[in-house]
Amino acid sequence: MMIIYNYMSDFFWGKRLLHIILFTVFFISCINEEVCEDVETVPVRLGFYTEIENEPEPASLIIDSLKVHGLGKDSLIYNYQRNISRIELPLNSGADSSAFILYFPAPPEFSHLAKDTIWFFYDVLPTLISMECGFASFFELKEVRHSRMFIDSIYIEQISVTNTLDEHIKIFPFIDDGDN
């Protein structure tokens, strides 16, 4: 016990200075530095993947060109974006579902076949981020459906859509292995 005491006596020798420093650091640390732009619209993140034989984890897949817009909306979220392996889609916080149309690269004569629609069904979770930023919508995914023109399957990896950088959905397109 004396060893502990001697050690701590040295510690307490500068106790007033220590407290002053800690109080100062604490007051400075109270300054709120939340970046509101980062949380204004919380997107659902989707990555493109392909299964590799004898590999436990799927490999990331790069799509040559991708166009995306919301169902019933004209404005594009992605406008033939090149070399893309991950996309971020803004869910509609005014409804409990959102749908998006994805146009994949294809020869002109097959372009009408190379598009899929993805529907997201979710609960909207309004969340007060900070007094400065106000409310943002977080989401909890309940179900994801998709057409099967280009997309083979979808796997929901994370149902909570919040202000983190997590990927929520894995998309597995049909892969032409050249045998057909």
């Binding site: 016990m1 004396m2 502990i4 005491y5 701590m8 510690f11 307490f12 106790k15 007033r16 407290h19 800690l22 109080f23 604490f26 007051f27 109270c30 300054i31 709120n32 204004e40 619209t41 919301g70 909306k73 404005s75 979220i77 803004p90 509609n92 916080s93 005014g94 409804a95 959102s98 979770l125 309004p126 969340t127 007060l128 981020i129 007094m131 106000g134 409310f135 943002a136 919508s137």
Partner: protein
């Protein structure tokens, strides 16, 4: 004192806390802590209010012991059980969504509770006769929280920001020793 510092950084959140402890067994300090919470924010983009109370009880052990009678400095480790209850509401909020369009909503007044455990470690030093300043570093492990609340509270009295899962916080306290 930590709550006072927080009010300086974010005046919409007001928390008052008082703590008492007694060395019922040599080097064992049994403590009771309690406080109240008020949150009130009326802004262009949202209004939010909350009020509640919290209680903590537990025990601290003085690692330093009492090698000398005049030795009043303490090095403490401790454990606490805590409970917080509050009511909160958001009569108006605006959710920005540049793609689908912004919309407004409201959340009715509802109750919320949380139980958690705290593990604490810190020091307390005698600045003047019978007047002590101290700090404790605390980690909080949630046990049970309300599940039926429509939104997560912005601030849970005694716990911290509602969006944090297991916050680690530092408490600064001033104590007066009563000659009982």
């Amino acid at each position: 004192m930590s709550a006072a510092a927080r009010a300086f950084a974010e005046p919409e959140v007001r928390q008052f806390e008082i703590s008492a402890d007694s060395e019922l067994l040599r080097n064992w300090f049994f403590n009771l802590e309690g406080g109240i919470l008020r949150v009130n924010s009326e802004q262009e983009r949202f209004t939010y209010s909350a009020s509640g109370f919290f209680l903590r009880t537990g025990v601290d052990f003085n690692l330093l012991g009492r090698p000398h009678a005049e030795q009043n400095d303490l090095v403490l480790i401790g454990i606490r059980y805590a409970y917080s209850s509050l009511w909160h509401e958001a009569p108006f909020y605006l959710l920005d969504n540049p793609y689908w369009g912004s919309h407004t909503g409201s959340i009715d007044r509802s109750s919320y509770y949380a139980h958690w455990m705290e593990f604490a470690g810190g020091v307390r030093t005698e600045f003047f006769k019978n007047f002590f300043l101290g700090w404790t570093l605390r980690t909080r492990i949630p046990l049970v929280k309300s599940r039926d609340s429509e939104i997560q509270p912005y601030y849970i009295g005694g716990f911290g920001q509602g969006k944090r899962r297991a916050p680690v916080m530092i408490h600064f306290s001033a104590f007066y020793k009563l000659g009982l």
